[in-house]
Symmetry: C2
Subunit: 342 residues, 2 copies
DNA sequence: TCGCCGTTGTGAATCGTTTCAACTCTGCCG
DNA sequence: CGGCAGAGTTGAAACGATTCACAACGGCGA
């Protein structure tokens, strides 16, 4: 059934070693021989067996990228960046989804370990520590993505979420807002906690400003709408004049809730709104939403860079920790009341 | 470096065959021996090598799912369904993204062929024919997803897009609308063409009804907004009283365009709006959008079922072609003008 | 004691590729 | 004409797990 090098060799009248050479170092083989072998390959429809190749090589040419949610555009963009850079290095990327579940994450990582992947790019859940240690003990390089870790021995690439939270809140404060609401959760997600902490820093610097925390159970549109209904009442009551949402999905949900129903509140007239991630839906919302943009593709490419470096790195050497700075993209949802046509 | 069965065997004082038996048929090994081997495995941190296993077995236990766009919720839901069913069968699913490019699709399929995957679930681009034939010649079962094919010899699972288009248009006509606009494109995507054709059937049955075709270059939010601006003018001019968009992203874009700017038109007062796919954004839009729902998870699970059947199937047997019927989910965007508070 | 059976364990062969030391040519120099 | 360099090719060993024909063992009935 299966066509192997042996048969190709026979057909072309050469040895298996030569077939292998044609496949991997054609310049070391005489042109006419290359030709003959190529023909045999075509005639027999030979396809190399990746498992055998890998067995011999000791490891695969595949990188694993484990993300928290494949359907989140943030992660798909990171994936695209990683794929592009990996391809340059002759590697392939496979995508896996942990759905924020530690158990699923562990299952995937075990799976990847049996496959002897060339490396793992991991957007870790809260309890990834053990799995990561295990992988590294077994010689599989790991790069943590979107998370700065205390452990200096494992490389990471992240975005400064504290800074992101700070610039978002500063922007609102500069626009004259004083009564902020932070929509996000669960706070066990460190990105959420960091963005909140950053915003809190900004609040602390401005007298008379305050921020109330409205927790969500997930970073979804639905949760945004749920909390948005609450926000609407608080805006009407004058308790809140600005909302900072931990991501754009929440922000969009909040906006939908604020704008729908009888007697909607006005954005940015009654309340300003800032999101996080700058997904395309944010720009395309009814009132385009100001958002904090992260260099998504760059995160992916950098993660692969770090992984490649990791493969050479000495045992105990400390690893690189790249931290990108986020950027505020200002849109209609945070125009200052004064500049607003009422 | 690498721990193999040999070392485990030595440590446990048994032969490699026994270690293999402990791993694969523990019930044929005496309990105390199992125990001893398990301990050795744990102490050495042994992890089986998937490549070696696969080389011996002749094929992997991985299914490949190639989709047009990973970030489209439709496909991620299909993937979830497939994963769930595959897991029951002891298989793993890896996800690949063709980005609607025939070249990328081909590259992925070649890659999967070298990996000797257990099967391929393919959401095909226009020019997938050759690749599919090649895979099947080489003994890799293929199931086409989201596409009914003329070729009876390859299994497929699809949704009846013509029926979907028809029920969408019928719903609009029943609501008293007569001047429809179809927003979608390119029409080389068969789903788009089918949905249009289905809507056309409905139009043909109702005197005095018409449908104008507004082409887009892609099924994206941005394209929806672009065409939406056009639609707004046509609505104001009384040329259009209903919009049927080829998918929800377009519908949302159209809605944003209709509602924003000075002097927005009213939905569903001035114009009704129907989308397709029933993604969560559709329900969560400012005016919740009526949409055609497809049984997404079921598509995924069924695709895997067909693939499993395919593996047993005789050479020349004809394959199953499962066609699901879509379902209309009615929301505020198509309330009839009469029942509407003006 | 012998033969037989079932249970448990053995180890060599196998999968398809890559690697590498060794070999064969060819042509050329001295 | 012997020796030699270099290009081109060879073929056996190795990677790690699985398989399977067979061996070892203990128990049991005759």
């Amino acid at each position: 059934m299966a066509v192997s090098v042996r048969e190709v060799a026979q057909r072309a009248g050469v040895s298996v070693g030569t077939v292998s050479n044609v496949l991997n170092r054609p310049d070391q083989v005489k042109a006419t021989t290359v030709e003959r072998v190529r023909e045999a390959i075509a005639e027999l429809g030979y396809v190399p067996n990746a498992a055998a190749r890998q067995l011999r090589a000791g490891q695969s040419t595949t990188l694993a990228l484990v993300v928290l949610d494949v359907s989140n555009p943030f992660f798909t963009d990171v994936a695209r960046g990683a794929e592009a850079r990996a391809e340059e290095a002759g590697l392939t990327v496979t995508l896996a989804n942990s759905d924020e579940s530690g158990a699923r994450e562990r299952k995937h990582l075990e799976q990847f370990e049996t496959q002897r992947v060339a490396g793992v790019l991991l957007v870790p859940t809260a309890d990834a520590g053990d799995s990561v240690a295990r992988l590294r003990e077994h010689g599989i390089p790991v790069v943590l993505v979107d998370r700065s870790t205390a452990d200096a021995s494992v490389a990471s690439v992240a975005v400064d979420d504290v800074a992101g939270g700070r610039i978002a809140a500063e922007h609102l404060l500069e626009g004259g807002r004083r009564r902020l609401a932070f929509v996000g959760g669960p706070h066990s997600i460190h990105q959420v906690a960091d963005r909140y902490a950053g915003a809190d820093l900004a609040i602390a610097k401005v007298d008379g400003s305050s921020m109330v925390r409205l927790d969500t159970e997930a970073l979804t549109l639905e949760e945004g709408m749920r909390v948005g209904a609450q926000v609407r009442d608080m805006v009407r009551a004058g308790e809140v004049d600005a909302v900072f949402a931990a991501n754009d999905l929440l922000a969009i949900g909040v906006q939908q809730a604020l704008l729908s129903g009888p007697d909607p509140v006005s954005i940015p007239g009654d309340v300003a709104l800032v999101g996080y991630d700058d997904i395309s839906f944010a720009a395309a919302a009814v009132v385009p939403i100001t958002s904090v943009r992260q260099p998504r593709r760059a995160i992916g490419t950098t993660a692969v860079e770090l992984l490649l470096a990791e493969r050479e790195a000495a045992e105990g050497a400390t690893r690189d920790h790249v931290v990108f700075q986020p950027e505020l993209v200002v849109r209609a949802s945070t125009q200052t009341p004064s500049s607003q046509t009422v």
